[in-house]
């Protein structure tokens, strides 16, 4: 058996008490300094909550005031997506000259499959889609997560090819 000298025994006890007191001093500091509190009051600060503009919440397609978007239906986003989140459905439109022109009917977006990797936005040649800063995506029914990005009756903006 190892015999501990009395002097070491006593210095051990005092060293231990000192190390414990250091920790207790630190917690007491935070106990008395409520300004250090870092938690946010989430549902209360919803109105003042500002997310950075690059935050990847969900894919949206911006429309202007004439209900026009910039999507040409090139399918670059559909190809870029690793999860099959985006599906482009076409329809044939007649141009004023009477020619048939391919245009998007629906751009279906499956939010439930999306991993917010931003590859579709990067791939888009005409900046038709972007990431929105929303994050409260919970719904009661999974079918609600399948979204159509283009507004009903919308058409492609002039000059976007």
């Amino acid at each position: 058996m190892k015999i501990v000298p009395v002097k070491k025994y006593i210095s051990d006890v005092f060293g231990a008490i000192k190390s414990l007191a250091t920790g207790m001093k630190r917690t007491m500091y935070y106990f008395t300094h409520h300004k250090e509190i870092i938690t946010q009051q989430y549902p209360d600060n919803r109105n003042t909550l500002e997310l950075p503009e690059r935050f990847k919440g969900e894919v949206v397609m911006p429309h202007d005031e004439n209900n026009e978007h910039r999507c040409t239906g090139c399918q670059a986003c559909e190809l870029a997506c690793p999860n099959g989140t985006i599906k482009v459905i076409f329809k044939n439109e007649l141009t004023p000259e009477g020619k048939k022109k391919k245009a998007i009917d629906k751009l279906v977006y499956h939010l439930e499959l999306c991993t917010m990797c931003n590859l579709c936005v990067e791939a888009c040649p005409s900046d038709a889609i972007k990431m929105a800063q929303t994050f409260e995506h919970s719904v009661f029914d999974r079918s609600k997560l399948t979204k159509v990005l283009n507004n009903p009756g919308s058409k492609i903006m002039e000059g976007v090819e």
Partner: protein, 358 residues
């Protein structure tokens, strides 16, 4: 302002005037029982919210702040949740012991309240071996833990219970020796006599350094005895999921939870009574004016103030320190606390004989 003692006295004489002595005894017992259960409920609610707020502020959080003003009713809402929750009994469990264990934990806690002096001259039972009674009964609480751990038929619970057994048996010794130091100084086991002996100053001041050492060892030992962190090996969340109460749910779990907090309250009340003068106000030597002003503060306020200070101390430990390992826990007791408190007791005895204390 009427004191607790006067209210109890008036009630006693009114009952004696209207009923025969047997009925008076029965009515007083029922009243005391109701008061104890009421105190339990209030203590549970207050201590849980206190613990949550203390932990939150130490962890730079806000803590509960939704139910009631500043979240003060949070523990009430939790209680309602626990009451309506199903109390499961595992199919492999020893049903009788499994269901009995939480009640034993509660009964032990209730028994311990009897000799505590809540205010001047206000006690349920001023037994002449009060301190011995508290030491004896508090070691019974290990039975409920062992029972719960054994009956759960769960290996984690069993390990937790066995740890708790080793732990409480060891730390009883130090707690007892630290208490004995004050008993030696006061010369009495009776709680009211110990309180009376501190009318000219608390023992922690009158007893010089040995009393402070006894106080420190007492606080460490009772923290271990009540299974609180850093000695919460019986529960040890990260090792044994929840230790002896892994299988408990609903109200049966709540009883264990409540018993833990009431035990904390009781050991702190005992510490406050023995070392900090219990209901006695703070008196300093010959400062007549100061002493007189202190006498105006009700004795119950003194008692609860001191008790809650000690409870805060124990909570402070819990939210600062990591947990010990089982062998280190026993090392701490047998290699450090026990020798220190034994030598300390010798010094205190010499002091008492030579009248070195104030």
């Amino acid at each position: 302002m009427p004191s607790f003692y006067e209210i109890a006295d008036q009630l006693h004489s009114w009952l004696n005037a209207n009923f025969n002595p047997t009925w008076v005894l029965i009515i007083e017992m029922v009243l005391a029982g109701v008061a104890v259960i009421g105190l339990f409920a209030v203590l549970g609610l207050v201590l849980v919210i206190m613990e949550r707020k203390v932990s939150a502020w130490m962890q730079i959080r806000l803590g509960p702040n939704r139910v009631g003003p500043k979240g003060m009713l949070q523990s009430l809402a939790d209680t309602v949740k626990l009451i309506v929750k199903e109390g499961m009994t595992p199919s492999g469990a020893d049903k009788f012991l499994f269901n009995l264990a939480p009640y034993i934990a509660m009964i032990v806690a209730m028994l311990l309240l009897a000799p505590i002096a809540f205010a001047g001259n206000f006690q349920l039972w001023d037994i002449n071996v009060g301190v011995l009674y508290v030491s004896a009964i508090s070691s019974l609480s290990v039975i409920s833990v062992l029972m719960a751990g054994w009956a759960s038929n769960n290996k984690c619970s069993l390990l937790g219970a066995m740890r708790s057994g080793a732990q409480i048996v060891s730390y009883e010794l130090t707690a007892g020796l630290s208490v004995l130091a004050i008993v030696v100084l006061a010369g009495d086991l009776k709680i009211s006599a110990i309180v009376a002996s501190q009318s000219d100053g608390w023992w922690i001041f009158k007893g010089h350094i040995p009393a402070i050492i006894a106080f420190v060892t007492f606080i460490i030992a009772v923290t271990a005895e009540t299974n609180r962190a850093p000695f919460d090996l019986a529960e040890a969340e990260s090792e044994l999921t929840a230790g002896f109460h892994t299988e408990y749910s609903g109200m049966k779990f709540a009883l264990f939870f409540l018993a833990e907090y009431v035990n904390v309250f009781i050991v702190c009340a005992l510490g406050a009574t023995l070392f900090l003068g219990g209901p006695m106000p703070l008196h300093i030597g010959n400062w007549e004016g100061f002493n007189h002003a202190m006498d105006y503060v009700p004795s119950s306020l003194w008692f609860f103030g001191k008790t809650f200070f000690l409870i805060f101390l124990i909570m402070w430990f819990r939210w600062t320190f990591p947990r010990l390992r089982i062998d280190q826990l026993l090392n701490l007791e047998w290699k450090y606390l026990l020798p220190i408190s034994m030598i300390n007791l010798l010094i205190v005895t010499a002091m008492a004989i030579l009248k070195w204390h104030f």
